[in-house]
Each structure stands twice: as C-alpha cells, then as structure tokens.
C-alpha cells in the first residue's frame, strides 16, 4: 500500500517535472486546468442563475457585481460563462475520449491485420474524411429524433472518428512487419494482443496528441452548433452566448464584453490542449519515458 502511494507520488512528480521542463506544455496545462476548475466549480462561482429571470440591469459593462457585465435582459454573463465552460468541456472531453477509443481500436487493428478488412475500413474512413464535417453534423442534429448534449457528443464522434483512425492505422501499419512484432507473433500472440500490448505502447504519444486534437475539434463543433441555434438542450454554453450576442445586437451596441469572453475561451482552451502535446512526446515516448 505505502509502496504504491510512494510510486504514485513519484510518478506524479516526474510528470510535473516534464511539464516544468517544457514551458510550452506547462502553459497549456495551466490553461486547461484553469478551465477545468472553472467548469467543475461552476455552482460555487456563479452567484446568479445564468438563464433565469434577469438578475440586474441590462447591457451593463463589467463591474464588481457582474465581472463580465450583463446581457440584453440583465443576465449575469460571468454565470453564463462558467456554466458554458461545463458544456464545452463535457462534450469536448467525452467526444475526445470516444474518438480515441474508437480510433485506436479500429485503426491499430486494421493496420495490423491489413488485407481486405483494412482496405474496406480505409475506404469508409476516406469517405468520412471527405464529407464536409460541419454540414454533416448540422444535418444529423436537425434530422435525428433525439436531442441533448449526449446526442451532440455522439454526432461529433460519428463525424470525426475517421481522422484519428486513419492516423493510428498508418502508425500501426508501419509496425506490422517489424521484427519485434514478428517475434511476438512467433510467441503465439494474437492480433488483439499484438495491437494493444505491443503496438499501442509505441504510439501512445501520438494517440494522446490525437486525443487533444479531437477534443479541440469537438469543443469547436459544439460551439458552432450552439452558435447556429441548434443548442444542446436548454443549457447555456459559449456557443449560445455568441448566438444571443449576435441575434440581440451586441455588435451594434458595441458590447464587447458579451462577445470577447466566450470566443477567447474557445481559442484559449484549444490552444492549451494543443500546447500540452509538447510534453506528451517526453511523457509517453519509451526512449524518454519517465512514467
């Protein structure tokens, strides 16, 4: 027990050391953690109901009472912002994780097994990669008889699994004839074991990088849908903030405080996630491995 705790502490420290050495990834990590905290602590940070009856005078610039000002009916924008972080991150991380699982499984197996299965799957992947993503997402959201954040997440996964799958497949394919893979095969390992116990550890850092990009894409897609008024339920999100800002004349009124925070948050969270990648090579590359 104590040993495990020590080992965990040790690996936590070495992970932090890697982030500390890679200043770019440290910046990314800090940004991401900040947003995660904002999202997790939403109930404690938002003094007002984000969408309920108006909570103050309308069109207020940022002040002590309303750190991000208020909207056209007096909703507190800071409250909308922190609840919006929840939706963005929930959809983003969930979709990212699902794309990761789907893409790793299909991609690695397909690349390793090769042959007709691989050819067939890659044909489907290519089609999904060529279809216009956002129009397809819109189409599915409009026509599917289900709604809510989970449906949005699933639709995003359906439309974006192909890219990660293709990357993982290309990696896996490049390993299939390597001697150590053949050695594992000669020892009686089957395709599943070879894929996950032998190939996967070698491409972990790329898989993680792929996950970051999937999360970024999912957050972007969710915001786009909300901005188009296809809001995932009755929630507030960064996308709906921009939707209301657009439709209620924030531009004409010059209320930059309504527009800047949600978009800047989208840019920053995407930036933070991508910057974290700079630590992954060192964290997950066996040559440099610290874990």
């Amino acid at each position: 027990m104590g040993g495990t705790a020590m080992a965990l502490l040790y690996s936590f420290r070495s992970v932090m050391a890697v982030f500390w050495r890679n200043k770019k990834s440290l910046v990314g990590l800090i940004i991401v953690i900040t947003f995660v905290l904002i999202a997790v602590l939403a109930p404690y940070e938002s003094p007002y109901n984000p969408t309920g009856f108006s909570t103050g005078p309308a069109w207020q610039p940022p002040s002590l009472a309303h750190p991000m000002g208020t909207d056209y009916v007096g909703h507190d924008l800071w409250s909308q912002f922190v609840w919006g972080a929840r939706i963005s991150l929930e959809v983003g991380f969930l979709a990212g994780a699902m794309v990761q699982i789907l893409g790793n499984t299909l991609g690695i197996l397909s690349g390793y097994i090769g042959g007709k299965v691989d050819d067939g799957l890659m044909r489907i992947v290519d089609i999904f990669l060529t279809l216009p993503t956002l129009p397809l997402i819109i189409l599915l959201i409009v026509f599917l008889p289900f709604h809510g954040p989970l449906v949005v997440t699933l639709v995003i996964v359906i439309t974006s699994w192909a890219g990660h799958t293709r990357n993982m497949r290309a990696q896996s394919y490049s390993y299939r004839e390597r001697d150590f893979i053949l050695a594992a095969k000669a020892s009686g390992y089957g395709s599943l074991r070879i894929s996950f116990s032998e190939i996967f550890p070698n491409i972990l850092s790329l898989a993680m990088a792929g996950m970051m990009y999937s999360i970024v894409a999912a957050i972007g897609a969710e915001a786009a849908l909300d901005f188009l008024g296809l809001a995932s339920g009755n929630t507030v999100s960064w996308g709906t903030m921009l939707y209301w800002a657009q439709s209620e004349g924030a531009i004409i009124n010059g209320t930059w405080w309504w527009i800047v925070p949600p978009g800047l948050a989208l840019a920053l969270i995407g930036f933070g996630l991508v910057m974290m990648n700079y630590a992954f090579d060192e964290l997950f590359n066996p040559r440099l491995r610290v874990l």
Partner: protein
C-alpha cells in the same frame, strides 16, 4: 546414409514459390483517388525444396536479395507462399489449428538480424523475454524464475539490473542477447536465426555466435542459420544450402561445398572472402537430403529435379 531421412524432417518446404507485388513510387499524399500506380512483381522464391532435419544445424547462404529471409518467414508461418507446401513435422504450417498451432508456435522460434528492431522499444526487457513463454502453462512465478535463469544463461547479469531496462538502454550486443533469451526461453525444437550477428560490432560477433552455439547444444536444438558469411556458416553448421535469386543452387555438406564448390554462384560467393576457407573446425558428418523429395541418388543426372547429384548428398543446380 540414415535410413529414411524425412521421418526426421522438422521443417519441409516443397515447390515453394513466393511472389511480391511491388508498387512503384507511391506518391506521399495517398488520399489521391485517381493516381495510377504501376506495379511489378518480384519472384522472391522459385520452386524451393528444402528440409530441415531434426537436430541438425543447417545454413542458408546467399547474396543480398536472394530470398533467404523470405524462406525464413515462410518457415515461421508469417508468409503464406503462393504455391507449394510448407510443413512442420509433416503438417502444413498454414493449416495448423488449436493444439497443433500452439505446438508449432512454441517450438519454432526466430532470432532476427537487427538488434535495434527485434525488441519492442516500448516494453521492458523482462516483458520481451517472457514473451517466449506466452503459450507455456506455467505460473507467473515460474515464468519469472525462468526469465531470470535464461537472462543469466545469455549473460545479462546481474539479472535484476536488466529486467526493468528498456531496449534503448542496452548495447546492440546486449539486445541481441535478450533476443536470444526470448527465442530460447521456451525450449523450442527449432531456432531460425536470420543473420543474427551481421549488424553487430565485429568485436561481439564471436561472443554472440558462441552463445547461440552453447544454447542450441545444451538442448540439441535444430538450427537454421541464415547468413551471407560462409565462414560463420562453416563454423556453426554441418549442412548448407546456397541461394541465388530465389533458387537453391547448391546443397550439401558445408565442408564439401566449401572445399569443392560446384556452382558458379557459390564460387563467386567464396571469392568475395577468399582467405578463411582452409582452417576452422570440421562439422560432424550428417545425413543429407536431396533437394527434391525422392530423387535418385546414383550419380546420374536427374531429369525431373533439375539438379545434378555429385554424390555424398551434394547437389548442384544444373547450369
């Protein structure tokens, strides 16, 4: 001659043809739908007949691209030949199932050329070595015990130091020792070593070859040794097959071939390294199997096989 040689055949290839399709310079952006790719074919193995007998050490020599590694892959069950049959103890390797398959996997093990490639860079040495016991029914403790013992045998001591290392933390020679440990740990009947020392520093080659020799002798393992290098082939094996462009052009006792090569290609191979031929130990006498099952062995030209029998199991491809 030993009575009926093929009762001892561990591995046997008959009329094996392997053809590779090569795609010419595929463009990098492979999403392109309408790009035409020319393809051409390489005959890597042409009508190869070859047997490995129980307990023997046999070498497969030939220049680069002659098809040696391809034949090794065919024997390891990695590459199904287009034509011909490949058998392990009389059973077609590519039709093995269940218990038979398991037995084959346990008993036929490879050692590869490139020490930088034959161990998984993302897994610890302990994992890579223990891989060789995957199909063995043993407890975890027994396996760990065996791993430790084998690492000791291959000279990776102190064992505790090496167990948790990753391949990149080892030298080329040490990696090859770990790869040898993986191959031998399950006590296989057959080891197929594809140029196991050609990428190593000259200073450790002899050590590694002696290690393989020691390991195979301790269990009387059957040994197929693939090499460019006739000197080490002479040192390690008693029988030899010479390959050229996918064909076996000469077959016989190592000593006979080296003393009196009959094929022009063999002579060329030897001329590449002229100096080393007349010293070194003689390998013990062993039965020799003619290239095609059932050919006559009375010194006459055999019209069906395309080989000339020079006696004493020495065959040469008709020129």
């Amino acid at each position: 001659m030993v009575g009926s040689p093929w009762s001892h055949e561990v591995l046997k290839a008959q009329g094996v043809n392997v053809v590779f399709r090569m795609r010419s310079s595929a463009p990098k952006g492979d999403h392109l739908a309408s790009v035409a790719r020319e393809s051409f074919y390489v005959k890597a193995l042409r009508n190869v007949d070859f047997q490995v007998l129980e307990g023997e050490s046999v070498s497969l020599v030939g220049g680069s691209g002659s098809g040696k590694s391809t034949l090794a892959k065919v024997f390891l069950g990695f590459l199904r030949p287009k034509e011909g049959s490949v058998a392990y103890l009389g059973n077609d390797i590519y039709r093995l199932k269940g218990r038979r398959m398991r037995e084959f996997r346990i008993n036929v093990q490879p050692i590869f050329q490139d020490p930088y490639n034959s161990l998984n860079p993302a897994r610890k040495i302990s994992h890579s070595v223990q891989l060789g016991l995957f199909l063995h029914e043993m407890s975890k403790e027994q396996k760990e015990e065996r791993v430790a013992r084998t690492l000791e045998m291959v000279g990776l001591t102190p064992v505790d130091l090496f167990l948790d290392k990753y391949p990149h933390q080892l030298s080329g020679g040490q990696r090859q020792r770990a790869a040898i440990a993986r191959a031998f740990i399950g006590q296989p009947k057959v080891i197929i070593a594809d140029e196991p020392v050609s990428m190593l520093d000259a200073s450790v080659r002899a050590d590694i070859l002696n290690l393989i020799l020691k390991m195979k002798q301790s269990k009387n393992t059957t040994f197929l040794y693939i090499t460019h290098d006739l000197a080490t082939a002479r040192y390690l094996t008693e029988r030899m097959a010479v390959m050229e462009q996918g064909e076996i052009v000469e077959l016989g006792k190592t000593e006979d071939i080296i003393e009196s090569p009959a094929h022009e290609y063999t002579m060329r191979l030897m001329n590449a390294v002229p100096d080393i031929w007349h010293h070194g130990s003689r390998a013990p006498d062993r039965p020799v199997v003619p290239p095609r099952f059932g050919v006559d062995s009375d010194g006459e030209k055999d019209e069906t096989s395309g080989y000339v029998d020079l006696g004493n199991g020495h065959y040469v491809k008709r020129g």
